[in-house]
Symmetry: D2
Subunit: 346 residues, 4 copies
């Protein structure tokens, strides 16, 4: 089949690779109808990946149709329209059965497209291990675009909002308005926020956020938040960037007893944390990685009922064959680019 | 009246000071029958206080009898046996009415004995502002020693345990087994912990902790916790020291999805936080200061019913006149010293 | 002053009554700018009141301006624009301070306009006992109509929705679409319901509900709910009528593990409860009365931020002098009558 | 193999029956080392069973060793020491994977020993369908007696206590002190109750309850609870009988804002519920059936750590061959009989 592979920094190839096969009796193969580029794919693109491998298929967001299942798969059949959860686990242990694959007791917590160990899904097809735990059926009323956002971006945002323990009536800030940040805005609203401030340096992203009902903030966010909250600060912050400066900003704008939830990925092992300030303000600070499976039941229900519109963050569609250009576009943050969806069938 | 006053680093005087008077119509005066030395008093004792003042009364833990009330006080009368909450607020605003004085909307959140602004309670009597909000009646079955621990140490520990979101069955670690840490052990047990590890370098403190039912850990806590939890770590940590090393330890021994609650006081504004590790482990980290009023209803009920025994942390009783020696003793951490109670009536 | 008084079944008089005076040092007097007729006033109107008194002022929903305060009132001054909480308490005990006046430890939990004991507020002015606990300041951006609905109907609906423990993504049904039911629809939406079914026999009320975003159901609600939920039933029901038939309906349409929250007032002491069915379905059933004070902080925040629009349930405005006609109108349920607001200033 | 079979009212036979075989590829067979008689078995014994079948194996509490597994079973192997959850489900659907078998989306929620459809476990061996979902491994430190109580009685009690939403410091009452009630006492204590009243008419059962730390109440429980709570009533009640009188008692002794959780099985479809009283008191009333799988992780952890001692409710051991006598004994409630354990290996 054809797939995008990682060939080194800023080098993504569209090439022929071996067809996937089911992983033991538990596995399945999904023919992909839409796949996405995630912000974390850009880390790999920039050469800061998680493996020294070259030539592996990249990508971990995919929706499509089951074309092959192992004999041990109970919940899925050939022909099922499914989304592939970005996060994977053994599917059988206690935590995995509850959807919390990050706590997989067999140590099989993982993700597609980070190395040859689990080939990625920016491809015509993908092999899914432990299909019962790692696939989800897509209701007919949910589009491919919406389902694609539900494979990773929306669940990550939702997880971040849950970790921020948003209470009804809270004033919330979201730092960073890429696809994940936009979904975090929607999450905060559904969880009952009275107001959501959307902080981003890019004008087009702020406009998108405003379309979703958030109040956009560009320059001098510390001062603006102070003014807009009568000096009080916000009850909860969802940080969707991962840089030291934005995390520090998040801590600064939190009110007394505020919660700061970091879902932007950080590699800092000595982040300078203002502990005295945090203690005086009684802050709760969380950082984490999402178990997609844990969030999906609620997100599918909300999307099917029309309360959540994950497709709103999609801005561009390209054929998979133009993957290299798609990466360049998403990396540029130009043209108001949000979610870029690749189509392997064109 | 006679009181202990701060005269400079390691200098505490027992001397004559003006008698307190009720603060406006809302205030009261309490004749003190027992007062305590708190770990945070040692900061002042060591010369790291919160004010340049000299000669002010120190101390913020006291129980006694109401001897005077302003005309606006509704909930207390002369003769009531009361404990004086270490934390103070206006008592009237929304947060104060709910007991959360740290969120006082009038900016009147404070503490006794930090400066001349609000004289301390290591004295024969203390003036209590906004008595309706800042006093609590002591049920007859609760001793002075128990009530004294309920003015600050036990509520702080309880707050820390609540912030650690202890769930039933959790394995919990308490770092630092002074009076607050010992109360945190009791809190974790009442909240349903299946096991509590008590980490301290001082042998006598570990023994006290073991008496309360905790499993003591001295040397190499990281390794020991790892072994005792099959490599998993603990679900929740309550840090009751405030040093960089102990906070780092707390973060190290937390399991995936663990919670770390810091109640030890830190002054570090650049604590080197291992953010990448925290994110991979999906940690929740909180630091805070207790609003005593918020915790008291539950603590009084548990103490009255005999489920909590705050007096267990009291190890020494001295007359108030021997205050200087009492400070020296508590500062030394020698002789298995826990809570030191001063008696102004002897 | 002029006021509406109860003179016997279906007899409401507009007449001269004594001016109110502050109740002790804690009380206040509020000059009323708008007052409402509540569904529970109809019980009195129909002759099923709570007292044998005649000639007392009726009504318990009012907004206006403070014109007199006792010397012990701290939180309010003459000139403040306020709403008068329908529920009252001593304002000083622990439960009252937290807003839960129903749990008033002094036994002073009550309501206006049920007898001469506490004169009602369908009047030019009302005396408010314990003003610190029983009044709330109205932000400038909130209209009198909105504030009036916040004195009772919206808090009751909110309380009912909280008791129904609505979880994000839940399918919810509201039984009865008068002003309280309409507010319950809004509550369920803000709490994250994916769908809300609005069940009422009156076509105009269903239309109003649909305007708020609910899915209206008229005939054969058991069958319709079954069909619309693939046989599963709804996760939560808020019952806002109080009749045996509607409560039985609520229990019937609840799914396995569903919650049924009754806020419609019932006088039945032998309601025939299908216990075996409830147990097989693992139902949670709650019935209760609202402490307005407990709900107000969140409701004021949501209204001020524009997420809640309590004024949406107001359909008619009349001068107070036309009170008799207003009662007749509201009692008729004709003309799509929702909330009827009376103006004592015209 | 040999097993106890139901032959009609008060007729239990010990006889030869066919050996069980694994149910499809998902099933397992467990050789039983201990099995128990449950209160609900007495319904069958008295002729009020759930099926017209005769000759089926009865019983649904068993521990033992896996002797055969289907090829699709992932989590268990021959030789594993296991407990058989009394409740069963498909093990694969969303609710079942989370342990909530009562919500099984495939409609396979069930129980052993109610008819020939799923043969019971008062036998030398039992066939377990969907073994991955319906078995649990027993840690070495947990005895057969303890594990047996964990198959049904303890989880039911725990579920009941969870439904009663016990908060730390609550005063709790348990109505009925058979094995389930005794476990409910332990649950309430671990969940932080400050006091637990144990209400039962049988003196020996009250004594057992007192041994666990509860305060026993025999005669006139309404008056006694009133006196012991200063007229307030209890915060939460767990009803473990299921009779109209005991459920009415439970509702009577609940305080304002109290919770009443019924786990005793009722067949009444017109229970006379005092709705007006319940509403005035703002009660929460729940009735339900336990999904054992949902409670087990916490219960196993607590038992392994020595905080819960399920074996405390076991009072009698008999060989399986004396099953008829064992039923008679348990039915009599004589001799302080609590849990009766049968041994198929003697």
């Amino acid at each position: 089949m054809r797939a995008l592979t990682y060939q080194g920094p800023r080098q993504v190839a569209y090439e022929q690779v071996p067809d996937p096969v089911p992983d033991h009796v538990d596995g399945a193969v999904v023919r992909i109808t839409a796949c996405g580029i995630c912000g974390s794919d850009l880390h790999i693109y920039e050469g800061h990946g998680f493996s020294p491998d070259l030539g592996y298929c990249i990508g971990h967001e995919a929706v499509g149709e089951v074309v092959e299942v192992g004999s041990g798969v109970r919940n899925f059949s050939v022909g099922d329209r499914v989304l592939v959860s970005a996060s994977t686990g053994c599917g059988s242990c206690g935590p995995c059965r509850r959807g919390w694959v990050l706590g997989c007791e067999r140590g099989l917590s993982g993700c597609y497209g980070l190395s040859h160990a689990l080939e990625g899904s920016q491809a015509e097809a993908v092999g899914v291990p432990f299909a019962d735990g790692n696939l989800a059926r897509i209701p007919a009323s949910i589009s491919d675009d919406a389902a694609l956002v539900l494979t990773d971006n929306a669940p990550t945002a939702w997880f971040g909002a849950r970790q921020a323990r948003i209470r009804i009536g809270d004033v919330v800030a979201v730092v960073g308005c890429g696809p994940v940040g936009l979904m975090a805005i929607a999450a905060a609203q559904i969880m009952g926020a009275s107001k959501v401030f959307a902080i981003d340096l890019v004008e087009e992203r702020r406009q998108l956020a405003a379309t979703l009902g958030a109040e956009p903030i560009g320059d001098d966010p510390v001062r603006q938040v102070r003014e807009l909250t009568s000096g009080r600060g916000v009850d909860a912050v969802i940080e969707a960037v991962g840089a030291d400066a934005t995390i520090t900003l998040a801590l600064s704008i939190a009110a007394v007893a505020g919660r700061v939830s970091v879902i932007g990925v950080s590699h800092n092992q000595a982040f300078p944390f203002k502990l005295m300030t945090a203690q005086t303000k009684c802050l709760e600070f969380t950082a984490g990685l999402c178990s997609v499976q844990q969030e999906l039941p609620t997100l599918l229900r909300l999307t099917e009922a029309g309360r959540l519109h994950p497709e709103q963050v999609v801005t561009h569609h390209l054929p998979l064959s133009e993957g290299a250009a798609a990466y360049e576009l998403f990396h540029s943050r130009a043209d108001g680019v949000g979610k870029v969806v690749l189509d392997p069938t064109r």
